[in-house]
Amino acid sequence: MRAISFQQSSEETLLLKLSGPWKLGSDLPTVEDVAGRIASGRRVRKVAFDAEDLGNWDAGLLTFLVKVRDLCRQKNIELDSRGLPEGVHRLLGLASAVPEIKDTGKNQVRERWFARVGDRTIEAVRASREVLEFIGDATLTLAKLAGGRVRMRRSDLLLIIQQCGADALPIVTLISALIGLILAFVGAVQLKLFGAEIYIASLVAIGMTREMGAMMAAIIMAGRTGAAFAAELGTMQVNEEIDALKTLGVSPMEFLVLPRMLALVLMMPLLAVYADLVGILGGMAVGVGAFDITLTQYAEQTQLALNTRHILIGVVKAGVFGIIIAVSGCLRGMQCGRSATQVGYAATSAVVTAIVWIIVADGLFAVITNVLKI
């Protein structure tokens, strides 16, 4: 049975007879059926209802009625809802009590393609300016630090140093040892063809100190500490803690960002040197354990291959990577909106931004060291 039928009850009044159950999920009539009937029949000035045969109903009936109400308003037709059951009549009244606010700024029509490109460009310029402002602000704060005029708690700095230094050692140990092992195995396959397995030691030593030690420590710290910085500052943003600092006249840059930047810039070179050492030990385990190299030969070859320059390049890179991770983490945290979703986005974005810029910076280091022949 159709759930709706129409009857032109009197001159210019259309009676909608509702029957049977009106439940969501069943095949309910649509407002288009009513619109079609209004358009096709005689002139309609009033829509009324007959719900005598109406069975069980739920929100499915209400959504239909709200659309019929909107249709009537649009076509300037009077809506007489008295024939509806009392509950439906009252709920319909509730749904109509507060008029829809049109200019909330969220119901805009879809913009044209050129307008969207323009908007995105303006947004990109604004975002770049924000990044530059943040970097500029951070630099000025560092300059203030040199002048000894910053408001920062020493205990905060020491705690963050512990968190991104000592606390990171287990994961850095594991990853660096594995990287050393992998480098040794990959190198050995090729070197063995020439009977030059002893150069596994040189490969691992130079590979770890110049490249992989700093790089892997940076990737670990980006995922571990950069994300933590962003989430921590983002949550502070959500909880109005940063507002509380600002109104107290304390610069969040000095109080929150500076200790994080200092801690990472100080700890990253140390972590990189530690990663170099563990990586070399990992390579040594492969060289000595799986190939015919003695411990002494491996150590001597490592010593021959290494020089201060290789180690220094790795240390400088690690310092730069530290700045990148701290800036990305703190920037995304400070830019965070005021919701849980935004905190998640800030943490993800901090990691992605840091890793992209670490790789870009590493590429630049490769070019510069090649040009300078160091």
């Binding site: 606010i101 909330t104 700024g105 408001r151 905060d156 705690l159 949550t235 502070m236 909880n239 109005e240 803690e241 507002d243 509380a244 600092l245 600002k246 109104t247 107290l248 006249g249 304390v250």
Partner: protein, 251 residues
Amino acid sequence: MNRSASHIGVRNLTIAYGDFVVMRDLNFTINRGDVFIIMGGSGCGKSTLMKVLIGLKSPATGQVFYNDKSLWEIDPTDRQQIMQRFGILYQSGALWSSMTLAQNVGLPLELYTGLAAGEIHDLVSLKLSLVGLAGFEEFYPSEISGGMRKRAGLARAMALDPEVLFFDEPSAGLDPVSARRLDDLILELRESLGTTVVVVTHELASLFAIGNNSVFLDPETRTMIASGDPKQLLAESPDPKVRRFLTRGEE
């Protein structure tokens, strides 16, 4: 103390997020020693107005005067000095989560008073006992309840004996007894220290109990539609929106 002297003046203030105007044409005066209520329905821009008053958000147009100094037209350093005379209780308490309650309340004192550690410790204990949190000095914000966090936030807001105390929805999330206690505390602070108090709220019991001046913000017209003593507004305001709000929609 001159109660009728203008402390905070708002002139032709319009607040916007980008192109979206939150409130326009606001004009009102908060006198020294007032308990001034910013009221209106949910989402009408009360908290945003408070952000402009405390210097966190710049207005689109118009001015906010503190003792006849325009907050948004002076040098940022001068603005910062004015802001240091404010105590603010945020809706969530906004305690610094990595610090204990004693450190939270003590930080403003450390930064701005030059007092010795022992004196700061005594002051912190006093402020915490004023809000009923004596003995909780070494607790972290995550270890106490929401109501306690709010009271600790008030202790921090009072740390520097501010000239103006701002409260964003102070009773939200509090049981009726705690809410009443907070109201009494606000009145006590006004009476004993002469503090000007600005409260953002839509809690009727609270606003009638403590407010002696107010502004009513209307989300539909996006401007203020009434100002004055809330009790007087209830008795005399001809505006149906104001009457409906102040009588919980019974009129």
